[in-house]
Symmetry: C2
C-alpha cells in the first residue's frame, strides 16, 4: 500500500510499503476512512525533533476494523471505530483515574497516514459506533481522535465551566478545537488570540466572543482590558513555545488555571515565578480515550462539527503538499483522502 514516510525535515514522501498485519494478540487492523496531518507532525518536519530513521507518519485515525488479534474482545471486523492517538489498555490505575495518556502500557499510534493501520491495545484504545456513520461525519469523527480531544483536554485542564472566561492562546487546529470545547463547556466569554482572518472566522464560528490579534505584552494588555484588569480564570495554551506559555501565564488571573497541550519546546519555568503567579498548571498529552465516547456521541448527534477544522483536502499521494500547506500556514489542517 501507499503510506506517508518522513525521511528528514521537509522530506515527506508517499511510498509503497507492506500492509500492516497483526503482530500481537491485542492488535487490530483497520481500514482508515480518512487520515490527516497533525500540527505536532510539523515539529519533526521543521527540524525541531530528531528523525533518526524513516518514520511512518500519522496518529489520528478512524475507520472500519478488518481483522483483530486473538485477544481482542471489544471490537470486531466490520465495525466502525475511532481511537485515541495515545494507545492505552483502559484498565490500569492511570486509565481508571482518567489519565489514559499515562497508561502503564502506553504507546503512541503511528502509521495512520495510510489506507490501513495496525492499532495496538485495540480493546483499550478503540470505541465502536453502533452502526456505520454517514460519510459526511467522517472528518468530525477523525477529529475526535486527537485534535478535538486535545483541545477538549486543554479546556478541561483549564477548568472551563459554565460562565467562565477563557482565553485560547494559539489559532492552530488544536486552539480552534479549544474554542469549540470551551463553548460546549459553557464559557460565557471566549477570547481567541489570532491574527489570521480565516482562523479568526473559524474561531468565531466555533464560539469565540472576542478576537485579539495582538501578541506578547500587547496581547496580554488586551486580555486585561477585556477582563476589567483581572485576567481570565481559564487559559488554554495550544502552541508550546516559551513565548506562548508566558502569554498564557500572564493572561490568567491569580487562582486561574492554565491547560497546556502544545508540546513544550524550549520552555522552562522559574519556581519563584510560578509561586508569585499563583496559577494552576496542568498539561500533557491529552487522555483522549476518557472523552472518546462522549465526543463521538456529540458528533454522531450532530451537536458539534469539529471536522470544519479541515480546510484542505488532498489525496494521500499529495501528502507532501498537505504538510507544506500547514507548514506555511496556508492550511489549518489537512485531510488526506485515502
Amino acid at each position: 500500500m501507499l503510506a506517508t514516510i518522513m525521511h528528514a525535515p521537509r522530506d515527506v514522501r508517499c511510498e509503497e510499503i507492506a500492509e500492516p498485519r497483526i503482530e500481537k494478540p491485542t492488535d487490530a487492523i483497520i481500514r482508515l476512512s480518512a487520515s490527516c496531518v497533525c500540527g505536532s507532525d510539523l515539529w519533526p518536519y521543521r527540524g525541531a525533533n530528531e528523525i533518526n530513521e524513516p518514520k511512518a507518519m500519522g496518529h489520528e485515525y478512524c475507520g472500519v476494523v478488518v481483522e483483530v488479534g486473538s485477544a481482542v474482545t471489544s471490537v470486531k471486523p466490520g465495525q466502525f471505530v475511532v481511537g485515541s492517538f495515545c494507545l492505552s489498555d483502559n484498565t490500569c490505575p492511570h486509565c481508571k483515574f482518567g489519565f489514559h495518556s499515562s497508561c502503564v502500557q502506553r504507546e503512541i499510534m503511528s502509521g495512520a497516514q495510510a489506507p490501513f493501520a495496525r492499532v495496538p491495545l485495540a480493546d483499550g484504545s478503540l470505541v465502536a459506533t453502533a452502526e456505520l456513520p454517514s460519510d459526511d461525519l467522517i472528518p468530525s469523527l477523525l477529529a475526535v481522535s486527537d485534535v478535538l480531544g486535545t483541545g477538549w483536554f486543554a479546556a478541561d485542564a483549564a477548568g472551563v465551566q459554565e460562565g467562565s472566561t477563557a482565553v485560547v492562546v494559539g489559532d492552530g487546529a488544536v486552539g480552534l478545537m479549544g474554542v469549540l470545547a470551551a463553548k460546549r463547556m459553557g464559557a460565557a466569554r471566549i477570547i481567541a488570540m489570532s491574527r489570521h482572518k480565516t482562523r479568526q472566522d473559524l474561531a468565531l464560528e466555533f464560539g469565540a466572543t472576542d478576537i485579539i490579534s495582538e501578541r506578547g505584552d500587547d496581547g496580554v494588555a488586551r486580555v486585561k482590558q477585556l477582563t476589567n484588569g483581572v485576567g481570565a480564570e481559564s487559559v488554554l495554551e495550544c502552541v508550546g513555545t516559551q513565548e506562548s506559555m508566558s502569554q498564557a501565564m500572564n493572561c490568567a488571573r491569580p487562582g486561574g488555571k492554565i491547560g497546556f497541550v502544545g508540546v513544550p519546546h524550549g520552555v522552562t519555568f522559574d519556581g519563584q515565578y510560578l509561586f508569585r503567579q499563583q496559577k494552576s498548571l496542568l498539561g500533557g498529552a491529552a487522555p483522549v480515550r476518557r472523552y472518546l465516547p462522549y465526543l463521538m456521541d456529540l458528533v454522531l448527534n450532530r451537536e458539534i462539527s469539529p471536522g470544519k477544522v479541515f480546510d484542505l483536502e488532498v489525496p494521500l499521494t499529495d501528502v507532501a503538499e498537505g504538510y507544506r500547506a500547514m507548514d506555511e500556514r496556508r492550511a489549518i489542517k489537512t485531510l488526506l483522502r485515502l
Copy 2:
C-alpha cells in the same frame, strides 16, 4: 518597646525601637498576645535572601486591638483579632476570587515579633472573635495566621478530599500543619516524609498514617510501594528546594495535584518534563484570609490544636536563641512570650 530586628544573616537582635503608630486611616495597632518565628524567616537568616537594611521581623500575629485608623470599621479597640501574614483589602477581584495573597493592595505583614504591631489594611486583613479567647488557645490562634493557613492551602491546592492519599514533603511546621489539614479534609492515607523522631511523632498525632524516613529516589520508591506503584493523588510540597520539589513531583500520580507552599529557592521546571508528568501544579503565598474564619472556629471549638507545633517557648529577649534553635532544627517552631 523591644522588637526583633535582623541585621544580617545569623544576626537577629532584640532591640528598643519606637512603638508603632497609625500611619494610614486603614491601619490598626494591636497588642500581640504572642508571636513566633516562621520557617521563612530562616531564608534571610541563612543568607538565602538579601538583607539590605535592618529589618523588623515577624508576620504572624494575633492579639487585642488598641487603636484603629479613621477609615477602619470592622474591628474596634478591645477586640481580639487574628490576621493573615498577607495583608489584603478583601474587596478586590482577586480577594473575591479567594486569592487574597494576590490582592491588588497586597502587603506583607512585618514587625510582629514585638509586643505591638501596626496592621495595614485592617478591615480586610483582621478577623475578630466574639469574645476574648482563653489563654491556652492563643498558640493555636496564632498558628492560624500563617503556618496553619499555609499548610491548609497546600492541602487545598493539592486537591485533598475525602478518601484521598496525600503525601507531605517536608517535616517543618508547615508540613506538619499540612498533615493536620489533610486529616481534616478527610484524607484516608497521609504519608509524612520525615527522619526526625519528634517531628514523626507530631505528624502521627496530627493524623499521618505512614512515616517515610527515606529521601530522594528512595523516598519516592517507598511512596510508590505504599500506593501499589501508582503514586499519590495529592502531594503537599512544604520546603521549596529543587530536591523537595522533584520528590513531590515524583510522588504524585499522573493527574495528581501538587500544592507547593515552600518559597522556591533555585527551583526550575522544564516544560517538557511537566508535560510528560501530567501533574497539576499550584502554589504560592497562601491566601490565609480565605480560610481565617473557618480555621479560627475550628480552634475556638477545640476541634484542632495546631498550637502543638510550637515546641519551644522563649521570652522576646531571647529571640536570637529562638531563631538558632529552629535553624539547627532543635525546635520545630518557636513561640515568643512578649
